[in-house]
Amino acid sequence: MKPIIQTEALTKVYGANGTAVHALRGIDFTVSRGEFVALIGPSGSGKSTLMAILGCLDLPTAGTYTLDGHQVQGLAGGELARIRNEKVGFVFQSYNLLPKASIARNVELPMLYAGVGRKERRERAMALLEKVGIADKADKLPGTLSGGQRQRVAVARALANEPALLLADEPTGALDSKTGAEVLDLFRELHQQGNTLLLVTHDPSIAAQAQRRVEIRDGLIAVTEGVA
């Protein structure tokens, strides 16, 4: 199947010669369309750096990265923002909703930057909120919602531009185990519907829910488990 993510010899170096930190030392990593992959590793392993590069938040120092057929390395800021906007949907540990904007506006935000018209934005946001089961909260502010509900809003927002890749960074980290399990159920559901998911976590029990587990240590892929 055509890969969504394909990296070759991806490296990332922070800082100058003397104090350089090699966060990634040559990652070859592929995720096919429709896969559900967990990226695991202890803190300092380079998994956050890898996630940032895969999410087009940052550029690699060397190596190639192809996202859904687009070369990402070497892109200028504006193009990177555009790819990020169209191809990647983020779900963060701390939900990261704009506290002063309504739920619907939060979900509309990626569509706003994609240039989607006001009416269509609202319709799609409402449809997405319907899917994640909190359409009735559309006009509420994030502060009035529970953690689980907020993470659902974040998922709806991540899906707004129908991204090629759903990137979740410790999505259950701030939730109690029951709510966390519900959110994971939601991810599994999304996977079954054909979405490509990359879940970053340090928790092996959460990683176990994925089709495939990739462990990172010291900037390199250490172990891969499961079937591609």
Binding site: R33, L57, A114, G115, V116, D185, E189
Partner: protein, 437 residues
């Protein structure tokens, strides 16, 4: 409630699976929707931090307010004064008036002269082809009693042609006539201000006004007018009576306060002035205790003076308004910098969700402009209201000076842009990774 049931509830093609229709072709770049989003976000931010917003808004508002009111009031004052100067029409007019002694020596000599008197007119005011009119005037202050109140009024002795030459139109009744002069009638034309004071709105024509025990029959009332010089004031707050009557009944010393001389051609001024001065000296036994003043150049001089003063005020007020606006601009800078630090996370998030650097830059810049625009709007409205309230005091009303308004807005918005640049630049440069950490 499980997620399966939630997801199953939704009918129709799912937006969440891979086969859903692709999103509409994205017309990326700057859209109206984005502009509105930015303005909205800006307003929400301003509202969320009312304290610092109000502080900055107040400064910008005051600056714009000051500029609007100041330019408009200066306009109004200029209108008023210019109208006044034009209305005096002292083109080719000179005035013979008693000279103030400059030294003790002068005083002694002047005391030996009878001064400017009614009797001088036979020598001074002889018909002359270069002179259109001699307008002598005598004046004293008298206290009159009316309806039990006492009122200080000016009694002005003038010739019948005074009203015409000095532009004192009649509002009610008639003016002084040659007949009055010949008969030495005890008739009076009341000044507009005095008439209002004494009789309210009632028509006083035909009534008597007792001045120094002499009843004067009121024959007319002057039309109200703007007051630009002393004579205007005396005439409006007094009565005009025939000069001969004045000399007979009011002043046995027959003193004149001045003789205004209207020339046929302004070019003759030098010649006629010298001639008049000579005649006065002759009449006063060689003592030069009167002077001839060119009223037109006096007026021009004082008009220039006035213009200079206005320019001075303009500079002072402009600097003040400019300073206030500048401080407001610095306020915008600090508000936007605080906003930037407060919203690092939001900036990072927006970038993670696809906002480009320049979209973030424009967002911050526009927020600064929105802030300034609200301040300017409040300043404009309050300034306009004040102008409207003051309008009655000016001859042509007080219209908000469009140039002043434009200047105020341009300055306020430019300052916001300039001072908004740095925070906007910092927001633009912020990496999403760093901001979200």
């Amino acid at each position: 409630m499980s997620d399966e049931t939630l997801l199953l509830r939704s009918p129709g093609p799912s937006l969440l699976n891979g086969v859903a229709p692709a999103p509409a072709p994205a017309s990326r770049g700057f859209s109206l929707g984005m502009l509105w989003e930015i303005v909205r976000t800006g307003l929400v931010e301003l509202w969320a931090h009312k304290g610092r917003s109000v502080l900055t808004l107040t400064l910008l508002m005051l600056g714009v307010f000051a500029l609007v009111v100041m330019t408009s009031v200066l306009d109004g004052v200029m209108d008023k004064i210019s109208t006044g100067f034009a209305g005096m029409s002292w083109d080719g007019t000179v005035r013979i008036a008693p000279k103030a002694p400059e030294t003790g020596e002068d005083r002694k000599r002047f005391n030996m002269s009878p001064g400017l008197r009614f009797e001088d007119l036979s020598r001074v005011a002889t018909p002359n082809p270069k002179v259109l009119a001699f307008l002598p005037r005598a004046q004293k202050t008298v206290t009159v009693r009316i309806f039990g109140d006492s009122e200080r009024i000016f009694v002005n002795g003038v010739t019948p042609d005074y009203a015409q030459w000095m532009n004192r139109p009649i509002g009610i009744g008639r003016g002084l006539t040659e007949d009055d002069q010949r008969r030495r009638s005890t008739v009076a034309v009341v000044g507009a201000t005095l008439a209002t004071k004494l009789f309210g709105g009632a028509d006083p024509v035909g009534r008597d006004l007792v001045v120094d025990g002499i009843p004067f029959r009121i024959v007319g009332v002057q039309a109200p007018g703007q007051i630009f010089n002393d004579e205007n004031y005396y005439d409006a707050n007094g009565i005009l009576i025939p000069l001969e009557t004045y000399m007979d009944r009011m002043d046995s010393a027959h003193k004149l306060s001045q003789v205004t001389v209207k020339l046929r051609r302004p070019e003759d001024m030098g010649e006629v002035s010298a001639m008049l001065l000579g005649r006065v000296r002759q009449a006063h036994h060689g003592i030069e205790d009167a002077e001839v003043v060119d009223l037109d150049s006096e007026a021009a001089k004082s008009y220039q003076n006035f213009l200079e003063q206005m320019r001075g005020w303009q500079i002072v007020l402009l600097s003040l308004a400019g300073t206030v606006l500048l401080v407001g601009g610095v306020g915008v800078l600090s508000v936007m910098l605080i906003s930037f630090s407060d919203r690092r996370f939001e900036i990072g998030l927006r970038k993670a969700l696809g906002a480009s650097d320049h979209e973030i830059f424009i967002q911050f810049l526009l927020e600064a402009v929105v802030l300034a625009a609200i301040g300017a709007l409040l300043g404009t409205v309050s300034g306009g209201l004040l102008c409207q309230a003051l309008s009655a005091n000016f001859p042509y009303g007080l219209v908000v000076n469009p140039l002043g308004l434009l200047t105020a807005w341009v300055v306020a918005l430019s300052l916001a842009l300039i001072f908004g640049l740095y925070p906007a630049f910092r927001a633009m440069r912020l990496s999403p990774m760093e901001a979200m950490r």
